[in-house]
């Protein structure tokens, strides 16, 4: 049986496939509550990651002709990514569980050989208390690294720390 091809870093010059419009998932006219997800990507020295490629996927609302479900944002000179999208609803988990609204997030950059995978949840969601991923993380401080917080009207912020103090929870995928 063949085995999956090895990953390699996206490198510092991936912007040749950067299309800034990819960061706006509402560009095809999606309906729903518009939200912005933004944040800083920080390395183990506390320095901003300024050459990163952040990707977003959401299973809700379902992707279609007017909603790609997928976004890609370059990090800027401050290490900031920014997506404009539609707020996801809850989606089924395994068994009879229900997952709180969330985004799937990939972090790709020079120095990252295999994409790092995490999720962004909304801090104020009641369903967070029973979400199967959040409840599997015992340490409240670690769990909090996956919670986006209000940062202005319709704007949610979740910073991503690759290493060290406040290191983001990354998920096996």
């Amino acid at each position: 049986m063949p085995i999956a091809t090895a990953a390699q870093t996206i490198g510092p010059y991936w912007h040749l496939i950067e299309y800034p419009e990819f960061a706006d998932l509402t560009r095809f006219g999606a309906e729903g509550e518009k939200v912005v997800l933004t944040g800083l990507v920080i390395d183990g020295d506390g320095a901003p990651v300024t050459d990163g490629c952040i990707e977003l996927w959401q299973a809700s609302p379902a992707a279609g002709a007017r909603f790609p479900g997928y976004g890609r944002s370059a990090t800027d000179a401050d290490g900031r990514f920014r997506f404009t999208t539609v707020k996801p609803g809850p989606v089924p988990g395994r068994g009879n569980t229900l997952q709180a609204p969330h985004f799937a997030i990939n972090i790709l950059a020079r120095g990252i050989l295999t994409r790092l995978y995490t999720r962004a949840y909304f801090e104020d969601e009641k369903l967070n208390g029973t979400d199967p991923l959040l409840t599997a993380i015992d340490d409240p401080a670690r769990r909090a690294t996956l919670l986006a917080r209000p940062d202005g009207p319709g704007i949610w912020r979740m910073d991503i720390r690759l290493q060290g103090d406040g290191e983001t929870v990354f998920i096996e995928v």
Binding site: I10, V91, L113, I171
Partner: protein
């Protein structure tokens, strides 16, 4: 409801680690805490679909406005399958690369090598119903980088693939056969298993080669397959 079928975990040694002492950029960019294990849900088992109608294919990047780029013209052809040998149809592949002199059309690339007005270096192709793809380009040059003294990246083309789920997302690099820089390259050598490493090297292919026009290379990609049966809770 029926649970989604998860994708299989990576085979040991087939994927690079997050931390690689020889590749300096990994030092401050890898998590030190263990990754959290979490069985795939609909979030990971589904993924984006791209159609050529919304994302037009760019299958020949060897010319700009009818002017040929400098360098050795190449055709790259290959097949995308999953770990069960099934073709992955209609999936988008993005490629990007340096020009023949080893310089990217990118403001941060300051390597003292010429830019080529007729080479941008980014393409986009879709696999057909049997998983086959093909594009035309020029052979990228090697270039220096500052990872260690006298460090040079081997000739390579970057690949971005999606497959059927967010879990199958793959960013990789295609290398060229016979390149003496491969054994010295810290990025290529992050893949622990020798066989897995060698599969990143394309094969020269006379059947892909077009007479009196371009050399042909074959590069196949395998994306993760799904578990045989839904995982039990």
């Amino acid at each position: 409801m029926t649970d989604v079928t998860p994708f299989r975990p990576a085979v040991a040694g087939s994927q690079p680690p997050n931390d690689s002492p020889e590749y300096g950029s990994t030092h401050k960019r890898h998590p030190k805490q263990a990754l959290v294990a979490f069985a795939h849900t609909v979030t990971e088992a589904t993924g984006p679909r791209f159609s050529p109608a919304q994302f037009p294919a760019i299958i020949d990047i060897s010319t700009v406005d009818g002017h040929a780029a400098m360098g050795e013209r190449i055709i790259v052809r290959g097949r995308v399958t999953d770990e069960d040998g099934r073709p992955v149809p209609d999936t988008m592949i993005e490629i990007w690369q340096a020009n023949a002199a080893g310089r990217y059309h990118h403001p941060r690339d300051q390597h003292d090598a010429p830019l080529d007005a007729h080479f941008q270096g980014a393409g986009r192709v879709f696999t057909d119903a049997d998983g086959w793809y093909q594009f035309t380009s020029i052979k990228p040059g090697a270039y220096p980088w500052r990872n260690h003294f006298n460090a040079w990246r081997p000739n390579h083309i970057h690949y971005s693939l999606f497959g059927s789920g967010f879990a199958t997302r793959l960013i990789t690099q295609m290398y060229f056969p016979g390149d003496p820089l491969l054994e010295l390259d810290p990025v290529f050598n992050t893949v622990p298993d020798e066989h897995a490493r060698k599969r990143l090297v394309a094969k020269f292919d006379l059947d892909v080669t077009r007479p009196e026009w371009a050399l042909g290379y074959r590069f196949d990609v395998v994306l993760r397959g799904r578990e045989a049966t839904p995982m039990e809770e």
